[in-house]
């Protein structure tokens, strides 16, 4: 697909061909002005392509803009309840989810504050909460981390991993190359007006802290498939154990999947493996 603004304007994007499978975390890179935001808006259905088509977008799609300084006549909780209903939640559930997500991002005490009186960071938390409260199948994040405090950033990282583990697709852009480092399944780069697939080896997003989990399952059983984050398997230190290594962002989802498996797995040990560096040089 392609997109340009105005009839004779230059092409912002041209010949973009992208498939977004479920269970995937996809990072889009590119310098300023290469059309990252335009691509994300096309994916989220806010904009439509000048040529080509976007097909098969799931019913529950959510988008988080980079800035959300919104002057709307609602309280934070009121706005989120409305958005929850628009995302398809029923009345009482929408309100309950709104409170839940505000609390998760540490903004519960602003629930009854008017949106126009919120700080930039808290507005951004509302924008993020709105996207997550209905469990979207496609989540599009345009530098959604900008303006969040570090605790909220961590929560957003976790929420993203949860969405992916639950079968969703998450597409994100972030100026910080270490954002969700090592967790992205696919990395694409925008250059000129074209989208190219990045192998990820040279990109900082391909590296990052990993978590090692030693677990033991029922005798002879293989780990349940598919596991979130696509961990690597090794024989564990003790007999019968399996050592799984996964990007830190996916570790919670992976643990949850192991513990929730039928029959459940037992977790022996969880440890952080330091970030690998220098791979690109070899």
């Amino acid at each position: 697909m392609g997109r340009r603004y105005g009839v004779g304007g230059p092409w912002v994007l041209r010949g973009v061909d992208l498939v977004l499978p479920s269970h995937r975390l996809i990072r889009v890179e590119g310098t300023n002005g290469t059309g990252k935001s335009t691509l994300l808006r096309l994916l989220a259905g806010i904009d439509s392509p000048t040529e080509g088509r976007v097909t098969g977008r799931p019913g529950r799609t959510a988008y988080v803009p980079e800035r959300f300084p919104v002057a709307l006549p609602f309280t934070a909780a009121g706005y989120l309840t409305h958005l929850g209903r628009i995302h398809g939640l029923r009345g009482a559930r929408a309100a309950a989810r709104a409170d839940e997500w505000l609390e998760r991002f540490g903004a519960a005490r602003y629930a009854r504050t008017a949106l126009s009186e919120l700080s930039k960071g808290t507005s951004q938390k509302v924008a993020v909460a709105q996207a997550l409260l209905a469990g979207p199948e496609l989540l599009v994040l345009d530098e959604a981390w900008t303006g969040l405090d570090s605790a909220a950033r961590t929560q957003l990282d976790l929420a993203v991993a949860e969405r992916v583990a639950a079968g969703g697709t998450v597409v994100f852009v972030d100026h910080d190359p270490r954002r969700l480092a090592g967790a992205a399944d696919d990395v694409y780069a925008l250059a000129g007006n074209a989208l190219v697939r990045d192998t990820g080896v040279n990109s900082p997003a391909g590296q990052g802290p990993r978590v090692r989990i030693v677990a033991v399952g029922p005798p002879g059983a293989a780990p349940p498939e598919p596991l979130p984050g696509g961990p690597t398997y090794e024989r564990g230190p003790a007999g019968g154990t399996v050592q799984l290594t996964v990007a830190a962002a996916h570790s919670d989802a992976l643990l949850r999947a192991l513990l929730a498996a039928r029959p459940p797995w037992h977790i022996h040990e969880v440890s952080l493996e330091p970030a690998t560096t220098g791979q690109a040089a070899s």
């Binding site: 259905g45 959300f68 919104v70 628009i86 996207a131």
Partner: protein, 222 residues
């Protein structure tokens, strides 16, 4: 769609941006309708006043959502649906104005024909007034939808064209609003309430075509 409509309606109500159009409608009624005048004449004035008021409300509803919030809503529901909900919220508000205005005008007017010879039943007069108000509402909504985003973005152009087109819709022969209002006023001379099927059908058609086109274009032009 219900959730989107509630969102837009709540935004309009809580922002109190509906107040200036209501004042305009009140001024039109206060100037154009005198107590004790023939009911059908007064209802014609009230319905005609609703046209620019509806166009203004539509403009308010489609521009009141900041861009960031609009992007979020559009992603959640689809751009055409989000735009349609804004148009429906504006029409709902205009409808409430129209019903209130029609009831008040019917109550304070003389229930007779213009020459004072024929009695006009208040219920059938009120019903005819509501139908003509509906025709004007639909035409006004079409005018407002045509003259605001996504088709016209500049504030000045948008306001000027809304005012001009609303006026034209009231005075041009062939406009459903003009036909409906003059049908009511002509009927007032002899105390006969004309049937309004044709203007109503035309107004429904115009509004449907315009709203459909605008909502689809809304996604095209973001």
């Amino acid at each position: 769609m219900t959730a989107l409509f509630r969102y837009h309606a709540a935004m309009l109500l809580r922002s109190q941006r509906w107040l200036p159009p209501l004042l305009l409608y009140g001024i039109f009624l206060a100037v154009g309708v005198q107590g004790g005048e023939p009911v059908l004449d007064s209802l014609g004035v009230a319905a005609a006043a609703l046209l620019p008021v509806t166009a203004w409300l539509v403009r308010i509803c489609v521009t009141q959502e900041p861009d960031a919030a609009r992007a979020v809503t559009a992603a959640a529901s689809g751009m055409p649906q989000a735009h349609l909900a804004a148009l429906l919220a504006a029409s709902g508000c205009a409808g409430a104005f129209g019903v209130a205005g029609t009831v008040i005008v019917t109550a304070v007017s003389e229930r007779r024909s213009a020459d004072g010879l024929v009695d006009v039943a208040p219920l059938s007069a009120g019903a005819a007034g509501l139908l003509v108000a509906l025709v004007c509402l639909l035409t006004g909504a079409a005018v407002g939808a045509l003259c605001s985003r996504p088709l016209l973005r500049g504030r000045g152009w948008s306001l000027a064209s809304t005012a001009l087109l609303a006026l034209l819709a009231l005075v041009t022969t062939g406009s459903p609003a003009k036909a409906a209002v003059s049908g009511l006023v002509t009927g007032s001379r002899t105390g006969v309430i004309h049937t309004l099927g044709l203007p109503l059908a035309a107004a429904v058609l115009v509004a449907a075509v315009v709203v459909g086109a605008v909502c689809v274009l809304g996604t095209r032009r973001g």
